[in-house]
Symmetry: C2
């Protein structure tokens, strides 16, 4: 596969904003079963293999998993403070659980688990997220196996079909819209900011 | 009215992260007429008068205005990079247009217009946002009147009914959920991160 045309400006933004840790923490919007929006910060974990799918991780017990069963659509809003530009990536979300039959997706999930720190892995052994507060000892479980993911550990993939890139720095501002066509090709046009 | 209990931790976060310009640029999620989420960065313009309603500005021609007619619910995700904490504020959005009959809301809209810079005001005289790109001269209109808002200038209010505050720095992380009851009072509980 070929890199989508928005990959190059996104890679440039990631590079030029690399001094800001938050530049790897975009915000992901989904829709709740009641039709209202949800929005949370999420850590970008790179692209899946040779695809244009963005990788994130999530706990199968988290609310966003329930939301995805209702609606698989997401929009990621990514603001880069140093270069003052924004990417909005809209597309379908896929949850890769422990039951994933596809071997390449299953191994992508395992690879992300193995790359986590001990403390990040330990969070997947914490009590039910969003549940009523439990006392501190519940948050110091034994360290999970570093090789084999806990069953509730999931890979979350976002496959963008539209990317809206806004540069606030231009005179006037610059804004581009990338849209994937039904044949998989990407179109690109300049739009008004 | 009294300040909602989440106002104090939010004010503290704003103060402690004031060196980061992006700490005043949270992300607002809404739902499109087709049921998919939308998400964009937006500038926080303070609270409206003595209320707990957050102020933003928007162009009546923007897509979010169409989305609000379909669903008035929004969720604001606010990540503070220096203190590593997140607020998620869910609630109803209200659009205050030039046709607003309530005098106090109408004057809040006018006050925000008067506080903008010339260049920010000029953007409301730009061509239709999201429309096909027009040449540069279209983006250098005459400066609008500094006192009387252009008709497409809107105040956008978010009235939170639930606020989820997560501190990543704790050991373990700390997370609180504020919920407004039907009598208007706020409840607060600690929940699992």
């Amino acid at each position: 596969m070929t890199l989508a045309p928005w990959r190059s400006p996104l890679a440039r933004a990631l590079h030029r904003n690399r001094s800001l840790a938050a530049s790897r923490y975009p915000q992901l919007a989904t829709v709740k079963p009641d039709g209202r929006p949800a929005n949370r910060t999420i850590v970008f974990r790179g692209f899946w293999s040779q695809t244009n799918h963005l990788q994130f991780i999530t706990d199968q017990r988290s609310q966003k998993v329930e939301q995805l069963q209702h609606s698989a659509w997401g929009e990621l809003c990514w603001y880069f403070g140093k270069t003052r530009e924004q990417f909005r990536l809209a597309g379908k979300l896929s949850l890769i659980t422990a039951a994933q039959p596809d071997p390449s997706l299953a191994s992508a999930r395992t690879a992300l688990w193995q790359n986590l720190s001990d403390s990040a892995r330990q969070q997947f052994a914490w009590p039910n997220p969003g549940g009523n507060w439990l006392e501190k000892p519940a948050f110091t479980p034994d360290l999970p196996d570093a090789q084999i993911p806990l069953p509730n550990f999931c890979l979350l993939l976002l496959e963008p079909t539209q990317v809206d890139h806004l540069e606030l720095r231009g005179e006037p501002q610059n804004r581009w819209l990338y849209q994937q066509q039904t044949n998989g090709e990407w179109s690109l046009k300049s739009i008004n900011p």
